[in-house]
Symmetry: C2
Subunit: 596 residues, 2 copies
């Protein structure tokens, strides 16, 4: 049995010794370089004992070190103390990077082991360079698979289905045709579709392999004549199999792609996106002379980011259902707090789930609810834990960032509520964040503007006071999929041009350590504003319709145009949600939506 | 004698026939790819009969065609009708480009002639490619020099001097050291400094070779041990020669650089900027094996754009003197119009020159004054001509865009004045332009923002109404030099990061064809705004202090912050200019600067 970290490390080191391996490296990655890896692939967590994203774990015969980013410094230090695993603070001056550390540990003739399937090709190349420089050897050694067996979570086997074209707007046949035409444009004849988001979009494939994200672990090979979906085929519904067959898509086992590539006999110019390619697939591809490899950005990302009319109509409907749930949540929250009940942060998710989960098309929350009271909200990635969460008592702000995926859309919304009286200073902070939000929401621009250019508008109300938030203003949202999607984003220097159909969150904030966090988030969709002699103009339109707490707005701080936007928004919230609410709920909403 | 265009073209065609040349091409360029060429180099104007910038003239045995941009369509059509020269509208669908036209005229074995000295290397390469494709031959044939002799303007011989370090802030020695260190950073050992702005900055060299711009026609060669200035050395003052010698700079004839390069015997890695390199220099450089040529952006552009403390202090002083002249001009304008006098557009420059020209440090107007009444102001590049200019009668807006170069700085300012009562609609347009101006002027940003990102702020007050101006919001201004400088600019997609010391104009506008033009322009300098836990913040500070006509501002359209900025600006205008004015002028100014 391997219940303790020392036991696990001992077993790993024994395997390393047997394989002649001096150091073993585990990046926090699955075979697709996903943002969140399924449990089966979380070897760095299993062997280090500390769960985190964006990390790397390295083990030698004597030492072990886990690199963690700023979000995890404190927690990792506490968890790793005394385990023999060093907590390495990434980006901190004086702390060596993974490669710098390896330079100290490796030497000529030494062997650095890794698992190619979960090694991003870009990191693999950097390690190759390092080993070449040191005279060391980089070896694909499946030691994780060898050591981590009996207590390892299985690969996910959730039911997989194809999203109905009534929600997706296009069939796999149509999407494959679009991709093939795009590949021709790019001078390629084939593509390895390796990012889960892209496979999901291309074939309308959905499942529940990844927490909070309705995707299936899968790869897809596409050329001008054929397409092969690599996934656990057993859990594909008969209907899904029939639809795939109709689209000319063959199916094969999830791990079957390297063998498939090895067997290829037709010359192909194959596009791969290094940002989601693992080293095993890269080896397989480059090992077969029939392929000419072209590296470039996954073209599906942009195709997926621009929603079609059906996707937008469905998303709008999903947001109204989600909005009604948010209204019911707020009513219950107010009533229970008014009744003197002490609610805790984790109760928020329970209440939200009650209302969202009862919706007919509900699938799953789109991410773990962030319900943060007072100073907890200053931590941007705070996730309350049952038993360790704060009680909502006293006065201050309650930040609630939540969302769900329905069969017709994915939502992401943040509201910050004043609980009890808040100070003038707190109201000013809230009002400034609201101004940032509105300044994006009411932006109009001549077509051609980028996310980086638009981001400038969001921050002026804070920057003028030398305040800021240490993140983008907003991210894309997938349609019935991952809550984060690119390539568009509202963030300094983002160079993606906004086009009609792109969805983006608008979520500026103020995070004051030890005091409070304020964030106001709607999803917006880019639409045409009209045309004049100067060209075509674009703007955003809200997808989210949920009242914004007006009790903490300093009305005089808003410009006339901002006030107009706010009153117009609340009039729309009322008009759009009223049909979904009962009389009492509607009356509550009408009061919240009164013009200021 | 060659007084007519047909006579000139006949002479050119005779020379072409003799040289075996089937087509001859003249770009609108001098040897430095300058924005404005000295008269000596305006062959395309001499042979086509039409003066314009940004143009190309091509002559064959039977045909001749001049390519002109949108600004000149009407005028070129009128001037060229019946001369045998076709007026080609660049960028218009169906009109062939120069290369497309040449493809029709040339064939295998044909010869296309050009003058290498005035041919930008980039255009030369494009022509080489074209000729290679057609099997034609591109030949450096000095036919312009051969045909255009007796009535050709001489090369400029204006007195050249070195700008005193009390105005420049740095000596040539210091600047050469900076450049050499920058070249090392770029992996180069030498550079051909070919842009007039760059030579002027590097050696503090000034003259009057170019209209409205105090530059000398000159090249400079710099390596780690030596520097050579190529210019008409006879007109260099003794003091200038002494200073250059002290800085280790040798001098040589203006046209001596090709020979100098041919004689080089030391291996050098030479940086050249193709955007200001002519084909003759490129040939000379590549004809000598000791040189390794590196093409890249001229590093002096950025060094020059970031003004030093002395330059800024001098510029601030120059702007106050310029501001006092503007105040006196406005007083005279108001008085004469009030007295019932009919002034014409060209009178504006006369009045302005009277006041600016009497300043002790005045050198020259920094560009021809744009004084545009009513609908004339809708033409962004309107230049009034004596005898053909409008009388300022009736009601409307008078746009005045002017500036000067003084020994301590260069200015560029636009004010738009209401003459007589203007309509509410006209006031709204003026107010919107003012908002655009202020929104840039009061911007604050975390360091790292680009000109493209900041430009977004300027246009919101217009874009929200689907209005726009078809140009950048602002350009850099040289210190005692050209009124346009890069690489920074306020313009969509400009990627240059603003840093303290950069000077930029802020000149949004509304141009309504047949009706009016409104522009409000100050020069601003980028300065530090302060530092907080979020980083370093930057902002702009006005360099221009001249009242903005408040009689046409709809105060309620401004935000509270914009109104504050405006009142604060006028308080500064009054405080800064009052010491330079007499009692009557000061009283006038105080009234103009009253808070709204």
């Amino acid at each position: 049995m391997m219940n303790t970290i020392p036991e696990r490390l001992t077993a790993l080191r024994a395997a390393m010794a047997q394989a002649g391996c001096d150091a073993y490296i585990m990046p926090s990655s699955d075979p697709h370089s996903s943002e969140y890896a399924p449990a089966h692939y979380t070897a760095w967590e299993y062997f280090s004992g500390f769960p985190c994203e964006n990390s790397t774990f390295v083990v030698t015969a004597q030492e072990a070190a886990l690199w963690v980013d700023g979000r995890f410094f404190g927690a990792a230090d506490a968890a790793l103390a005394g385990t023999g695993v060093a907590s390495m603070h990434m980006g901190v001056k004086g702390v060596p990077t993974v490669n710098e550390w390896l330079t100290e540990k490796l030497a000529a003739g030494k062997v650095l082991g890794y698992t190619a399937e979960t090694m991003p090709v870009t990191q693999c190349r950097s390690l190759h360079e390092l080993c070449d420089k040191l005279g060391a050897k980089l070896a694909d050694l499946p030691l994780v698979d060898q050591v981590w067996t009996e207590d390892r979570p299985a690969l996910p086997t959730s039911n997989a289905w194809l999203l109905n074209p009534m929600y997706a707007g296009k069939t796999p046949t149509e999407k494959l045709a679009e991709l093939r035409s795009k590949l021709t444009e790019l001078g390629c004849t084939a593509m390895l579709v390796t990012k889960l988001d892209s496979v999901a979009w291309l074939l309308n494939l959905r499942a529940a392999d990844v927490d909070n994200t309705p995707y299936a672990l899968a790869f897809c090979y596409v050329d001008q004549n054929s397409a092969v979906l690599f996934t656990d085929t057993a859990r594909l519904s008969a209907d899904a199999l029939a639809q795939l067959e109709q689209a000319g898509v063959k199916t094969a086992a999830y791990n079957g792609m390297p063998a498939y590539l090895a067997e290829g006999t037709t010359a192909q110019t194959v596009l791969v996106d290094p940002s989601s390619l693992n080293a095993a697939l890269d080896n397989a591809l480059r090992g077969n002379q029939v392929y000419t490899v072209v590296e470039g950005a996954d073209p599906i990302a942009l195709m997926k980011a621009v929603k079609n009319e059906t996707e937008l109509a469905c998303t709008r409907a999903a947001h109204l259902v989600d909005g009604a749930a948010m209204v019911r949540f707020q009513i219950e929250l107010e009533q229970r707090l008014a009744a003197g009940e002490t609610l805790r942060e984790t109760d928020i998710d329970t209440i939200l789930h009650k209302y969202r989960g009862s919706a007919e098309k509900f699938i799953v929350e789109s991410f773990p609810t962030i319900a943060a009271w007072g100073s907890n909200a200053a931590m941007m990635h705070y996730a309350p834990q049952v038993g360790a969460d704060a009680a909502i008592t006293g006065n201050g702000y309650l930040l609630v960032d939540s969302g769900a995926t329905y069969y017709d859309g994915t939502t992401d919304i943040t509201r910050t509520f004043a609980v009890g009286p808040v100070t003038e200073e707190e109201k000013l902070a809230y009002t400034r964040v609201l101004r940032c939000h509105i300044d994006i929401a009411m932006a109009v621009w001549r077509e051609g503007a980028t996310g980086g250019e638009l981001d400038m508008l969001a921050r002026q109300p804070l920057w003028r006071h030398m305040l800021d938030y240490r993140c983008g203003t907003g991210h894309g949202v997938s349609h019935v999929g991952a809550v984060h999607e690119g390539p568009q984003s509202l963030r300094p220097h983002n160079g993606i041009v906004f086009v009609p159909g792109m969805v983006i969150t608008d979520e500026p904030g103020i995070y004051e350590e030890g005091h409070m966090g304020i964030r106001i988030e709607n999803e917006l969709v880019c639409v045409e504003a009209g045309e004049s002699e100067y060209g075509k103009f674009l703007r955003f339109e809200p997808l989210t319709f949920v009242p914004i707490d007006l009790s903490c707005v300093l009305v005089d701080e808003l410009t006339r145009e901002e006030k107009q936007w706010l009153n117009n928004y609340h009039a729309q919230v009322l008009a759009k949600l009223r049909p979904l609410l009962n009389e009492g709920e509607a009356a509550w909403l009408a009061a919240k939506c009164a013009a200021i």
